[in-house]
């Protein structure tokens, strides 16, 4: 009987599985009104000029607004939807980063770097859809929830001294934003595992299979990010729709064996790589729950300009053909897999050249025939990524543990020169730079000491600062926030902002266990609101657009983060609390006792007493003693 039943169950299982797959595949299109939850997985690989490789994983889950769902979801992570509903989060971004994005060689003017280059440690901002006076309570709860969800010390952002309320310089401009960073958080695999748990296939299938921990954490830069937006619920009783975007950006060094063997002349040849050589794994088919699953290879326009495609002039016409072999079999490199589609960038501000995007569908591959692209370079190429209009860096000035100054310096890059030449027709060309800086309370900033240096000349603050918003720090209560809008002339070479501060002195229990290591000052955010990083690729069917590419099309202002600064603070002697208390109290007792003694002393009476004592040579004490001894002797005799 049991034997008979088994195939049945197996059949049933296969059936349901197939049905489920079909059902998911149809999900988005089958009904007009009721949309289904969707999940898509994408990976973008981009060679970087300094022989490194950028891998950008993009997973997007979306839950449409619905009445029926309630707390029940098919694909969408339940933890996130509960969090959104409970704290009424409108928009939120959480990032865990290790390493620093190298703006000079990895670029700063493309969608990836402006939205995925993050400051080291944890950064969290959230916009709440609650009344003003409830925001702080929501923020506190949110930090605790996220802390539990991601096994990180996000709960330190709970105290009012660590988070701030940006007024207008922070991109999602609105009064309900809370922004907090925790630069000293060490990001590791314990944070990645809960992040992967939010994916429907985790790291068991699909592109996430590539996320091999040792190779990820060996990288130069690693940033895992979680961005969620909840769409406004149109009517009562309908839960808001949520779009959850999980990205993981890694910069890796492809360790090609050939690089060791090459001759000195071939030193500049970019290392050849393949997915299996970088990650040590291959993609064996897509995650069955994903609507789309694709891998992209992006060649930067700077690189494309160097490669000299044979038919560069009629590139657009070739792009329409899409199968043109010219784009993937090039004298300078070779792809191991033929791309399924090729996208050309639609238009660009620089107009020198156009970026090329190769697309590979993972659906076609299976476990027997795993997907693994490789890029083999034949000729040395050198190119530059497009940089931010001004390169920002931040440093300390001064020495000692009493005071100092923070300087934010902006240097023009090769971009500004091009921009300047383009806009040189009208003389009044201005470059707007927004600076957002949070300083913890123990760095006591003197806002009146703000100085502006343009081309190394001290200039009047009012000439270049168009708008400034300051919220000074309160001891142990709130950090200092400075938001500045700078209007610089386009032909500026260098600009610098300096501001002086005094270092605070903390109580012994406010120091962390490693007090002499110093304290971190979170990165400043430098954004260029007049410049938007977007990449629009020619696509024929806009309906079936991939989330990654539509993300690229969004106009996001160019942003860059400065370095995290480490400020050493003076430490008291941690072994002294008892000594200090006792010494201090002794001094007080000395003061109190001796002064009181002087005040109540009656010299005349003392003299009289001394005289009386001198007169009666036999003092009272000997008398008493003799009496006592006599008594003792007497009693002793009695007892005997």
């Amino acid at each position: 009987m049991v034997l008979l039943q088994r195939p049945h169950i197996l059949l049933l299982l296969i059936d349901t599985h197939q049905f489920l797959q079909c059902w998911i595949a149809f999900g988005s299109a089958n009904e007009e009104g009721q949309q289904q939850e969707e999940f898509s997985e994408e990976l973008l690989v981009k060679p970087l000029p300094d022989h490194k490789l950028l891998a950008h994983f993009h997973f997007q889950s979306s839950a449409p607004p619905s009445t029926s769902n309630g707390c029940h979801h098919h694909l969408f992570p339940k933890a996130i939807s509960q969090l959104v509903q409970k704290f009424r989060v409108k928009e939120m971004e959480l990032s865990f980063t290790q390493g620093r994005w190298n703006y000079e060689s990895w670029g700063g003017f493309d969608p990836i770097s402006s939205s995925n280059a993050k400051p080291p440690g944890v950064e969290l901002w959230a916009v709440f859809d609650v009344p003003q006076h409830h925001i702080d309570a929501s923020w506190k709860n949110l930090t605790h929830t996220l802390s539990g969800l991601f096994c990180a010390s996000i709960n330190f952002l709970e105290s009012t001294a660590t988070y701030s309320t940006p007024e207008w310089s922070f991109p999602p401009a609105s009064g309900n934003v809370r922004y907090g960073t925790f630069p000293c958080e060490a990001v590791c695999t314990e944070n990645l595992t809960p992040w992967l748990r939010l994916l429907p296939c985790r790291d068991k299938a699909g592109i996430a299979l590539l996320l091999d921990r040792p190779s990820l954490y060996r990288g130069f830069y690693h940033s895992q990010r979680l961005h969620l937006t909840s769409t406004e619920s149109s009517s009562e009783g309908i839960d808001s729709g949520i779009i959850l975007e999980q990205t993981l950006t890694v910069v890796l060094q492809p360790n090609s064996e050939r690089a060791i063997e090459v001759h000195a002349s071939e030193k500049h040849v970019q290392p050849s790589w393949s997915l299996s050589s970088i990650f040590g794994k291959q993609v064996s088919g897509r995650c069955v729950l994903a609507k789309s699953s694709s891998v992209y290879l992006l060649l930067d326009w700077g690189l494309v300009a160097e490669l000299k495609f044979p038919n560069k002039e009629n590139g657009k016409s070739a792009a329409n053909g899409l199968t043109s072999e010219n784009f993937w079999s090039n004298p300078s490199f070779e792809l191991s897999v033929n791309p399924d589609r090729i996208f050309l960038e639609e238009s660009s501000s620089h107009s020198k050249s156009l970026s090329i995007l190769y697309m590979f569908q993972v659906e076609k591959y299976s476990e027997s025939e795993p997907f693994d692209i490789g890029l083999m370079w034949k000729v040395p190429v050198a190119w530059l990524c497009q940089q931010t209009p001004l390169h920002a860096s931040r440093f300390f000035m001064g020495s000692g543990n009493e005071r100092g100054a923070i300087a934010i310096s902006l240097k023009s890059t090769q971009f500004t020169e091009g921009f300047m030449s383009a806009n040189s027709k009208d003389g009044s060309c201005e470059l707007r730079v927004d600076v957002f800086q949070v300083v913890p309370w123990y760095v006591k900033v003197y806002f009146h000491s703000l100085r502006v240096f343009v081309d190394q000349q001290p200039r009047a603050v009012s000439d270049f600062i168009e708008k400034i918003h300051v919220s000074p720090s309160k001891d142990k209560m709130s950090p200092g926030v400075m938001e500045v809008v700078l209007k610089l002339p386009c032909r500026v070479n260098t600009a610098a902002l300096t501001i002086e501060f005094d270092k605070g002195f903390l109580r012994i229990d406010e120091y962390p266990p490693d007090a002499n290591q110093g304290f971190d000052i979170p990165s400043a955010i430098i954004s260029f609101p007049n410049f938007h990083a977007s990449m629009v690729f020619l696509e024929d069917d806009s309906l079936n657009r991939s989330p990654l590419l539509s993300k690229f099309q969004e106009k996001c202002p160019v942003m860059s983060y400065t370095e995290v600064l480490l400020v050493p603070l003076t430490t008291p002697d941690f072994s002294m609390p008892y000594n200090v208390s006792t010494i201090k109290c002794t001094v007080f007792a000395l003061y109190f006792g001796s002064l009181l003694n002087v005040l109540q002393r009656r010299v005349a009476e003392e003299e009289r007493f001394l005289k009386a004592k001198a007169a009666k040579k036999t003092g009272r004490l000997p008398l008493l003693l003799s009496k006592l001894s006599a008594k003792l002797r007497g009693s002793g005799i009695n007892q005997d």
Binding site: F447, T570, D573, Y591, F592, S594, V598
Partner: protein, 459 residues
Amino acid sequence: MEKVKKKIGSFSFWNWVTASIIFRLILIYFPKNLNLSSRPEVSTPLTSFRRLAEGYWLKQSFMSPYAGSMYHGSPLLLSLLGPLTINRIEGQPNHLLYSLVSVIADVVSAMLIRATGQNLRLAYLRSLESLDLVKQIEVSEFLFSGDIAALIYLCNPFTIVACVGLSTSPIENMAVILCLYGACSRLIPLAAFGWVIATHLSLYPAILIIPVIFLLGCGPDSPPRKLFLQRHQQKEVLNQSKLPPRFSWGPVIHFAFWAFLWSVYVLVLCGISLKQFGGLWEMFKSTYGFILTVEDLSPNIGVLWYFFAEVFEFFRNFFLIVFHVNILFMILPLAIRLRHRPCYLAFVYVAICSMLKSYPSVGDSALYLGLLGWFVNELADMQFSLFLFCGYVGVSLLSPVMHNLWIWRGTGNANFYFATAMVYACLQIVLVVEGVSAMLNHDRKLRNLITGKPQDAKS
């Protein structure tokens, strides 16, 4: 002969005054004020010039000056001195105008000290005359205590450093001296004004109300009233006119009225200047509240900062109460014992406050050292004066060195600097205790002279 001596004395007095003013002006012209304005000895969170400038900047940009934890001074100072932090004359050092104000404040204080000192000296001579002790105590050898006090105040390195270091303590000191001067010369509205302003600026001078009441009620310092009675009993003629006046409530009530008037005036002014930013409550919280809760733990020459940096949070409130009550505890015993010498009582109170206050600076020490000059004649027999002098010199040399070792070089640690602060506190304790004891002994000496006892009452 005496006239010539006096002339020479006054001539050299003015020489010294001009010399000290010129010295200040020279120091002001040094670039960046020799970095004195950021020394912990000179500028505390309450008196710092940079914090004043920050408060003024915040106010100019339509924010409450108390918005951050930077400024903790009075809003009136902000309106009066604030513009001087920005106004500058072309080609001159940045804070020239502000420094000139401090120099003027110092000179005015010195002149008021001189006038008060002369007043006190006259009162002392008058009382000696009425006690018929003029012959026994060589009055001709009496020093001009007013001149001496003024010169001590003007030429004291502490005063000079506080003045050149752009702290607000010259102005606070001037208010205190104004109060004492007004009370000594019976200018009741002036005394009330000085007292209200001094209290408004730094809270601690509030306890000076007791010496001021005694001054107004019984007149300036004199030997105890009992001595006069004894003297007249000996002579068996009770000459009422020669007795010091009994305590009269009239001027005190007058003072109370004026003090009330001035405080209402000051509060109204503060209220107007803070109307759009949180009002008076915020002002009290961040000035008096800041003084009383010792929130800022940056090192200074006092002893509270390290204590509260080290003490366990649980005991913080307890110790705050203990240390503040310590000041109040001594008020009553001192007032009882020294009620016949209100100016000396004021000196002792000022010294105790500058020793136990939460954010002491050398400016506070400068004030009580200047006032000490009033009593050179009475305190001639004070013990340990050389030891105290050497101690003050030693501490003022060692303390910057220890601070440098700890903060700038990182080779020393906080205990080094704290040790000098402890020594400084001990020196001040010895000064106060010995000073009080010497004054009481002086009274005993006078009594012994009257009753004809031999002079062995020194203890």
